[in-house]
Amino acid sequence: MEVGQMQRQWVDYTKSLFMEGLLNGQQFLQLQQLQDENNPEFVFEVVSLFFEDSERLLKDLTFALDQKGGVDFQKVDALAHQFKGSSSSVGALRVSNCCLALRNFCLEQNTDACLRCLQQLKQEYCLVKNKLETLFRLEQQIMAAGGSIPMMELSF
């Protein structure tokens, strides 16, 4: 596949993520705009940090909600707050909305609802992780072929 085609594929794929509501277009493009020659992998680094952070948070959330002796909702809420913060910052919209829902269920001290919400949160996280990894693979292919990542604008 030639570079132009790969770039168009990247643009279409990125747009689809915005259309599906998986990524907040404005937020994600802001991140892209921070990338420059001094930090050509800035988005990749921030998103990788997000993946690491998320995996730890999901593990801690699972542990906190598994306490048979009684759930510490303050702890769960604090974790959900952290997760909401980082997911919002990278534009992972559906993940961040799930975190908001989880915080509301913590307020109600509803363990079952929290557990169901956590399940959904894990699914949304896996989904956005897979999509972003695909996006980065496309980027690597473009750069390996000597091309550059197109600068997108939210005009669609």
């Binding site: 802001q30 921070l34 921030v46 940090l49 997000f50 913060g85 980082s86 919002s88 990278v90």
Partner: protein
């Protein structure tokens, strides 16, 4: 001196317990030519000033462990710190924002900061220095 030159002399402190937010805000500042550092909670922000450091701009998160943004802002103001302190948070309730402003903020912005928001903050600082 052109505004751009003034900007390269500015310094900032990012106060946020979230690694990703710190990373993004530091990059935003770096791209704008602002020398910056980051700490993970309000107490560290206060301590860094106790050690004699000062900054033109402090980006202060609200919810942090050990010492939150409201307490840290009050403490810094009581220490006589006159830097521009901008509260950066995801809170949107009027009463919460007002409480944060009352602690001594110069401005409040919803997180995460964007290039446009940062530019308007830096313009205010440059304007007050000229």
């Amino acid at each position: 001196m052109a505004p751009h030159d003034l900007a390269t002399q500015l310094t900032a402190l990012v106060v946020d317990d979230n690694t990703i937010n710190r990373r993004i805000h530091q990059k935003l500042l770096k791209n704008a030519g602002v020398k910056n550092q980051a700490v993970g909670n309000g107490k560290e922000a206060v301590d860094i000033h106790c050690y004699g450091q000062s900054f033109n701009l402090i980006l202060m998160d609200m919810d942090m462990p050990i010492m939150n943004g409201i307490e840290a802002t009050k403490k810094l103001r009581s220490m006589g710190i006159c830097s521009m302190i901008v509260g950066v948070s995801s809170r949107s309730m009027e009463s919460e924002i007002q409480e944060f402003m009352d602690a001594g903020l110069d401005d409040y912005q919803v997180k995460p900061l964007t290039n446009a928001k940062l530019t308007s903050i830096l313009d205010k600082i440059n304007h007050s220095m000229s």
